[in-house]
């Protein structure tokens, strides 16, 4: 079924029975927003996944330390932390590849590189940490290394992505995570740095995800 009139000349195009120019302008703007939301929706889920993983994971690890009241067993805290981080890495890699599904060219390339880079960034700092442990790094050193290394890598990824996709809020979030997680929290030492990572890191992800979510709902309602 063909749902459109078929204007054959410019004069047909302004037929009073056809949608008005104002309606057509609104339609064009609405469709551009729909396309933009298709791609930003997965950014929202990625932000919220990371936010929940960092917030709950680091908070639980802190709660397992004597300074956090040893509310949960330490082994339990670290297991849940690892599962949450793994889920966030797999989830964000999946979201990245889903975004570029059915595309070819520049956007496919950007989406695929971003998704797989996040996956690699989740994996390789772990290798480096294992190598440091093998070279004699103590648990106290590793407790400072892991959150700091992940903050710098994830923060840098966000800054570069924000520059690539022209998203200032993403650059601010990446910069914030790099400064707080990579430059400030390490000096507090463990386990205080876990608490900073939970609130300043996880909280920033959740806040950014919610800002994107409210923004897209607001656009949809207009």
């Amino acid at each position: 079924m063909n749902d459109d009139r078929e204007p054959t000349s410019p004069s047909d195009a302004v037929d009073p029975a056809a949608p008005s120019p104002a309606d057509m302008l609104r339609l064009a703007q609405q469709q551009t927003r729909v396309v933009s939301q298709q791609f930003s929706r997965r950014t929202v889920s990625t932000m919220l996944m990371w936010g929940v993983a960092w917030f709950a994971g680091f908070l639980l690890v802190w709660l397992s330390t004597p300074q956090g009241g040893a509310v949960v067993p330490m082994v339990f805290g670290w297991i849940v932390f690892s599962v949450l981080m793994l889920a966030a890495f797999v989830g964000s890699t999946f979201a990245g590849t889903r975004t570029s599904h059915g595309l070819r060219g520049r956007m496919y390339f950007q989406g695929a590189v971003f998704g797989w880079t996040i996956f690699a960034c989740g994996l390789f700092p772990g290798f480096l940490g294992a190598a440091l442990a093998r070279a004699g790094a103590s648990d106290a050193v590793l407790a400072v290394y892991y959150p700091g290394a992940y903050s710098l890598i994830i923060g840098a990824l966000f800054v570069v992505s924000g520059a690539m996709w022209n998203r200032v809020a993403m650059i601010v979030l990446g910069g914030w995570i790099m400064i707080v997680g990579g430059a400030v929290a390490p000096f507090l030492g463990a386990p205080a740095n876990y608490l900073v990572m939970a609130f300043a890191g996880g909280g920033a992800f959740i806040l950014y995800g919610l800002i994107l979510l409210v923004g897209s709902r607001w656009h949809r309602a207009r």
């Binding site: 459109d4 009139r5 204007p7 302004v14 339609l27 064009a28 551009t32 396309v35 070819r104 520049r106």
Partner: protein, 108 residues
Amino acid sequence: MPAELDPLIHAPARLRIMSTLVALGTETAMVFPRLQQLLGMTAGNLSTHLTKLEQAGYVSVDKRFAGRSPVTYLAVTARGVAAYADYLAALRDIVAAAEAATSLEKNA
């Protein structure tokens, strides 16, 4: 004098197709099923409108095989981007002129 509206774009379905492909840019192509799902159109309807846009040189259609399955990639061309920009500019001119006329009538 009001600007002329490109009749090839001035149809709701084709305007939505062009808005979608222009948002992706000339360097990104989308497969037919994803475009269909994004627009919520039937395959036949989408195909009819794409043929018109392709004939005008606004959209490029690249048919190839992924294994044994045929895959059709669609992208806006540079000519399509220019035509879409001209169309939107003409629309804005018409809307602005209509608003100005309405405001003059109110003040008269």
